[in-house]
């Protein structure tokens, strides 16, 4: 799937949004935004059939939101939500479906670009509506939140409350001065430069889907893995820079998504710096409820470390499966889950043995700090290889690898 940020379609619509939305008011502003969003999804991204599919998927979510507002239907809501998750898995054509469904029953004509982001946004709205923390909701605001052209394809995952506060003017996307607008424009240009100038430099030197790993020696594998990780970071963070700048100029600034992930000192630090909007989503809707549920289970009461580790592993598994539909992404989730469990257990044991203050002092030591960055950078670079290479090819290559 090719998606161009520099396409005349995307940039033209961004320009229309930046010029028109700040001067329009009320329903005219909502209608103009929905027209921009649907034009983007229809004409630039997905085409008519998939746009209709996306719209129906979002409207079904709206139905779920209203079902969740009925306090006496909690059990029914859980079932409806499970059905919605199943629909998402079906539409995403997860690889394992080919083992349980005949080929003819799998959806073949719908594009799934943006569906995973849309799905997480809708689930957040449904759950928050059920818990009474969503506040007011109307159809047009909901649809524009879901289909916002700036964040539709690759996030960041904005919270509905944050979106609505900015859309309604309760919170300004930018201060009303010249310089912040210049900064937002610079941010767009910098993002585009990352995506189109810097990322390709590393992308050309990175592992390719058709790279024959068996022909690479260890050094080549390591260098190309680093290049792929840097390519991914520049590509994704550049995209986020551009859409944060665009959103800021038309009145709804998406949340920040990166904070120098290559300087992370451990896996926990890494996920607080990398794809932060996803981490926050996973923390709020997977980790925290699961951890609370496990702690309240009679067998796990008092076993906080075990409950936390089980929740961390499950959260990373969901993260892996959200990133992609193949076994490689499942393995990515397993690797990060296992890494989280090892780190969290090590940290807990260290604190138990040395005391919290001693561990804090140890963390401030520059050698420990630098070592943490080195290990984390290498481990993340290696696990992101799953994004590009099939696990079979990886295992085959690891067996045949040796010094040059």
């Amino acid at each position: 799937m090719q998606l161009s940020l520099l396409s005349p379609g995307f940039l033209g619509l961004a320009l229309v949004a930046v010029v028109a939305l700040p001067v329009l008011r009320g329903d005219a502003r909502q209608l103009a935004f929905i027209a921009i969003n649907l034009t983007f999804i229809w004409a630039v991204l997905l085409g008519p059939a998939s746009t209709l599919g996306v719209l129906l998927f979002a409207l079904l979510g709206y139905g779920l939101v209203h079902a969740s507002l009925a306090q006496d239907r909690r059990a029914a809501l859980a079932m409806l939500l499970a059905g919605y998750v199943a629909l998402f898995i079906y539409l995403q054509r997860y690889d394992f479906l080919q083992w349980v469904l005949p080929e003819a029953a799998l959806p073949r004509f719908l594009s799934t670009v943006g569906l995973s982001f849309l799905f997480f946004k809708i689930v957040h709205v449904v759950i928050d509506a059920a818990s009474g923390t969503l506040g007011r909701l109307d159809l047009l605001t909901y649809l524009n939140y879901c289909l916002n052209f700036a964040t539709f394809a690759m996030g960041p995952i904005q919270r509905f409350q944050d979106y609505r506060a900015q859309w309604d003017g309760e919170q300004a996307a930018l201060p009303d001065r010249f310089e912040p607008h210049l900064d937002a424009t610079l941010r767009i240009l910098l993002g585009l430069a990352k995506v189109y100038v810097l990322a390709p430099f590393f992308g050309d030197r990175a592992l390719q889907p058709d790279t024959n790993l068996a022909e690479l020696n260890l050094t080549g594998f390591v260098v190309q893995s680093y290049a792929f990780w840097i390519f991914l970071f520049l590509n994704f963070s550049g995209y986020c820079d551009a859409v944060i700048g665009i959103g800021s100029l038309f009145g709804v600034r998406p949340p920040e998504n990166f904070n120098k992930p290559y300087l992370a000192r451990n896996i926990s630090d890494f996920w607080q710096r990398q794809h932060r909007s996803l981490t926050l989503w996973l923390t709020d809707y997977i980790f925290t409820p699961l951890y609370k549920k496990l702690l309240s289970a009679p067998r796990l009461t008092g076993h906080r470390l075990l409950a936390a580790n089980m929740s961390l592993f499950a959260t990373m598994l969901v993260s892996g499966l959200w990133h992609g539909t193949t076994l490689s992404f499942l393995l990515f989730g397993v690797a990060h889950g296992a890494w989280f469990v090892v780190y969290h257990t090590w940290d807990a044991l260290l604190q138990r043995r040395l005391g919290r203050q001693a561990v804090l002092r140890l963390r401030r030591n520059w050698l420990v700090h630098a070592g943490g960055i080195f290990v984390t950078f290498n481990a993340t670079a290696f696990t992101f290889v799953f994004f590009r290479v099939s696990p079979d090819a990886l295992l085959l290559a690891l067996r045949s690898m040796g010094p040059a």
């Binding site: 090719q2 161009s4 520099l6 210049l182 994704f236």
Partner: protein, 36 residues
């Protein structure tokens, strides 16, 4: 004065980025969706 100088630097930086992008746009590099 400080603000004016800061803005001038930012505008110059924007000009450099536009020039860079214009040069690269001639090569028509497409952003490749990587599977997120």
């Amino acid at each position: 004065m400080k603000i004016a100088a800061r803005i001038a630097v930012k505008v110059a930086w924007a000009g450099v980025l536009v020039l860079l992008l214009a040069l690269y746009a001639r090569g028509a590099v497409d952003f490749v969706y990587t599977g997120f």
